[in-house]
């Protein structure tokens, strides 16, 4: 029995209405401004990044040509000859727009930023190593691709990759760790030995071998990374389940005759969420980092997928073109910093102490 008043008492005095523990933590998270705003910014940016084809694209949103309306963004490849262009291949909508200005009845509506991530020097009008300016905000790279649009498309890919990878590895890690902690005994022993062996597999060599056999794509990469990434969570969950299992509420549930499944998922798991939630942002950072690393080394996503690692690698080969180095590194830094802020705030929100450095 403590004599000094605890946080709970203080919080209970403030909150007259019943709030579950998670709701309270959410309120505390909201009160940590830096992390909360970083969360808002990142979530908004991520949601917007799904609509990038409408905002940043070399394909026009709407084209009216000879009384007919086209939606190239949704329709995909449309040959230039359809709109009366004499160049072979896909229509160049930026040139079309200039051309249609003088023609009555024909018009083009381009996205706000009319450069796509895939078009390179083969498209008329694109130059290599163009400096940042009015047209290309962050310049162009060694193949004449627009750096700004690749950066933003890369943001979506990196974050989606990292989140999917984290969720996948957590699903495996949490369930195996939970079973190890809950059942203990022989199962725990055997799984632990297996994990020890599995953890000694050299990840990079396996990666190089696999990518020399099959060309990795987005989902294959996630699967491979997950195969190596699930181990970390098992340690936390195993310890957490071992600790929670000895608490009396589990004994109470067993004495009622509750099933193993219900005890694991209804009783213990909700009380073991702390490591899952607090490590999530940092695991996302790890995911982004590994994707960038793999891309940098050339074992990641196949070109011309816009990826930050590949951009950094190309930038380092052309160090004098400063925008090619600074842009991807800056984007990486900003994103990781925002996630670190979120992670920090989450950890703070789950910390039972009252006095904190943040805020």
């Amino acid at each position: 029995m403590e004599n000094t008043p605890t946080v709970d008492q203080a919080a209970a005095a403030q909150e007259q209405i019943s709030l579950s523990v998670l709701k309270k933590r959410w309120l505390k998270f909201k009160s940590i401004k830096r992390g909360y705003y970083a969360f808002i910014i990142l979530i908004t940016a991520y949601i917007i990044s799904f609509f990038l084809p409408l905002l940043i694209n070399n394909r026009a949103l709407v084209v009216k040509y000879e009384g007919e309306i086209w939606f190239p963004v949704f329709q995909g490849y449309i040959a230039g000859s359809t709109f009366g262009e004499d160049v072979p291949g896909e229509a160049n909508y930026r040139e079309l727009k200039v051309k249609f200005k003088s023609e009555k009845g024909n018009w083009v509506i381009m996205p706000p930023y009319p450069y796509g991530p895939y078009e390179d020097v083969t498209t008329a009008g694109n130059k290599m190593y163009e400096e940042p300016g009015r047209g290309h905000w962050f310049g162009t790279d060694n193949t004449g691709r627009d750096v700004f649009s690749r950066l933003l498309y890369g943001f979506n890919i990196s974050l989606s990759f990292a989140i999917l990878f984290t969720i996948a590895s957590y699903l495996i890690g949490v369930s195996i760790g939970a079973m190890m902690g809950y059942f203990g005994g022989k199962f725990d022993l055997i799984t632990q030995r297996f994990i020890e062996i599995w953890a000694t597999l050299p990840f990079l060599f396996v990666m190089i071998i696999i990518s020399s056999i099959v060309r990795p794509n987005f989902f294959l990469l996630i699967v491979i990374l997950t195969l190596f990434g699930w181990i970390g969570m098992t340690y936390y969950m195993r310890a957490e389940f071992y600790r929670e299992k000895t608490k009396d509420y589990v004994a109470a549930a067993i004495s009622m005759g509750q099933t193993h499944k219900k005890i694991i998922f209804k009783h213990i798991l909700p009380n073991s969420l702390v490591p899952i939630i607090t490590y999530f942002p940092f695991a996302v950072i790890g995911g982004i980092g590994s994707l960038v690393g793999l891309d940098f080394l050339g074992f990641g996503l196949p070109p011309p997928t816009p990826s930050w690692g590949q951009m950094v690698s190309v930038g380092l080969q052309n160090m004098v073109k400063w925008w090619m180095v600074l842009a991807p590194l800056g984007a990486l830094f900003t994103t990781l910093l925002l996630i670190v802020f979120i992670g920090e705030a989450i950890r703070e929100a789950f910390d039972p102490r009252v006095y904190s450095r943040l805020r």
Partner: protein
């Protein structure tokens, strides 16, 4: 009348919890006499531990603060709340005291922006003038908005008090806590910790002690074991030396490695002996004397074979033994006050009996020392103490000699506590006289008498007026309207009121 060791008047300790003030101790007056065992009893949140911790200024600040009161130790005033109040009466900042904290930063920011704009508008050019102007701006802003002479005074006041209190704590006051394992350092032997408690050592002295220990153990080692150590070291040297030279197995190399290895333990041992010789004889004698004192202390608290146990680590002791070690360490300084905060709560009944017995023995041995026993268990109080303070809601509710309190409890809370314990006189399976309701939240204590929310005999004014602590019979003080009213009716004489 016995001599007073401590005199506490109107002690107040407030905690700041999320913007709310918890009055953990709210105006507590009591004295500690020399040579008594004083019991402080109360439930969780009653402020019993906090008031004793405030007495020796061990409240973590922030969140807690001893805001008011007066503490006198052996006639010397240590803490004076009036002085603190006088310091606090001065406005917090030098200027603009009406601004609150959040507005203050805003205004300061605006001031800095204005300065910057002014600097840019005025035709001052050059980087060095700009730098000087910026430094000046920082200084002026701090002086105008954040300079607080009061804070400085407050800090120096506390620093002075803490320094004095640390001296007193170091020599006169000892504490025993509920969980002995957390108060003992697991990486040092009991002997080292006890000697440290008898005489705090500097780093140099600790090194000297280690040298003395090592030299002594080297001298006491048999030759067979010395040879064994040499052989092991030689083999290790050969192994690692060969590892380093790529398994060349050259004869001269092997010989030199073996010799180096064999020599090393002996060289180290004789180095220790040599260093030991360098240490002055007086220091040796002092060290031996300290060890003897440590053994004597362990013997005093009833630890069997103290010479050998001195070399053991805390985890090798059981819970009761660890508590004994804690008591031995507390006694090392020959304190005049021993504060025991729930010393037996974590222990078993038979071990609790041993420890309580030991505390009474200590009291008999050292006549002018006082012991304060903080506990929630009235039975422990009845067994051990001479005088009892009953606390509830951060205030003292009743003070009396132990027999008086148990025979003639006056406060309804004390009566309730006594009724809550099953006694042999009570008929079996009869309902206990429980106190209804629950302990009020410390942030939300009632306005008047702190006990009024649970009291069965309360009258109207209990809700609004907090009764004073009044002496009913000599040495028996109660804080209850009913008792006071009854007493005033009986004798219309003036009574001493202390509040």
């Amino acid at each position: 009348m016995r001599e007073k060791l401590f005199e506490i008047k109107g002690l107040k300790t407030y905690f700041n919890i999320g913007g709310q003030t918890a009055k953990a101790v709210d105006g507590v007056d009591f004295d500690i006499y020399k040579g008594e065992i004083l019991g402080v009893v109360g439930e969780s949140g009653s402020g019993k531990s906090v008031s004793l911790l405030s007495l020796i200024q061990l409240i973590p600040n922030p969140p807690g603060e001893v805001t008011d009161g007066e503490i006198t130790f052996n006639g010397e005033n240590i803490f004076n709340g009036d002085e603190l109040k006088r310091i606090k009466a001065v406005p917090q900042y030098r200027f603009f005291n009406k601004l609150d904290v959040s507005k203050r930063t805003g205004v300061a920011f605006l001031f800095m922006v204005a300065w910057l704009v002014l600097h840019l508008v005025l035709p001052i050019s050059g980087f060095i003038p700009f730098l000087i102007s910026m430094l000046l701006m920082t200084g002026v802003t701090w002086y105008l908005f954040f300079n607080s002479p009061r804070k400085r005074h407050e800090r120096s006041f506390r620093e002075k008090m803490y320094t004095r209190m640390r001296q007193i704590r170091g020599s006169e006051i000892a504490m025993i806590f509920q969980e002995p394992m957390t108060s003992l350092n697991p990486v040092y032997t009991i002997g080292m910790q006890i000697i440290e408690a008898i005489k705090p050592k500097s780093f140099g002295e600790m090194v000297k002690d280690r040298i003395i220990d090592l030299a002594a153990s080297f001298r006491n080692t048999r030759w067979v074991n010395k040879v064994r150590a040499s052989v092991i070291a030689a083999v290790l040297f050969i192994f690692f030396g060969q590892l380093g030279t790529g398994w060349s197995f050259q004869f001269t190399q092997l010989i030199s490695q073996a010799l180096w290895g064999a020599a090393l333990p002996l060289v180290l041992g004789y180095l220790m002996v040599g260093l030991d010789k360098l240490i002055p004889k007086e220091y040796h004698e002092e060290y031996v004397d300290l060890q003897r004192q440590g053994i004597k202390l362990l013997d005093q608290v009833g630890i069997p074979s103290p010479e050998t146990r001195l070399k053991d680590y805390p985890h090798q002791f059981s819970g009761g033994m660890r508590q004994r070690v804690m008591i031995a360490m507390a006694l090392a300084k020959k304190p005049s006050l021993l504060i025991a905060d729930e010393p037996t709560t974590a222990l078993d009944v038979t071990i609790q009996a041993q420890i309580l017995e030991l505390m009474k023995e200590i009291k008999d041995q050292r006549e002018d020392a006082a012991i304060v026993l903080i506990t929630h268990d009235l039975a422990v109080i009845a067994e051990t103490c001479e005088r009892v303070i009953v606390m509830y809601g951060g205030k003292i509710q009743e003070v009396a000699e132990v027999k008086e309190l148990f025979d003639n409890p006056l406060h309804p809370y004390t009566k309730g506590l006594l009724g809550s314990i099953p006694t042999p006189e009570l008929q079996k399976k009869a309902r206990l006289q429980a106190i209804r309701g629950m302990v009020p939240n410390i942030l939300n204590l009632p306005e008047g008498c702190k006990f009024c929310t649970r009291c069965d005999v309360k009258i109207d004014k209990c809700d609004s007026v907090d009764p004073p602590l009044m002496e009913v019979t000599p040495g028996h003080l109660v804080r209850c309207h009913l008792v006071i009213d009854e007493m005033l009716e009986q004798q219309n004489a003036p009574v001493s009121v202390s509040e």
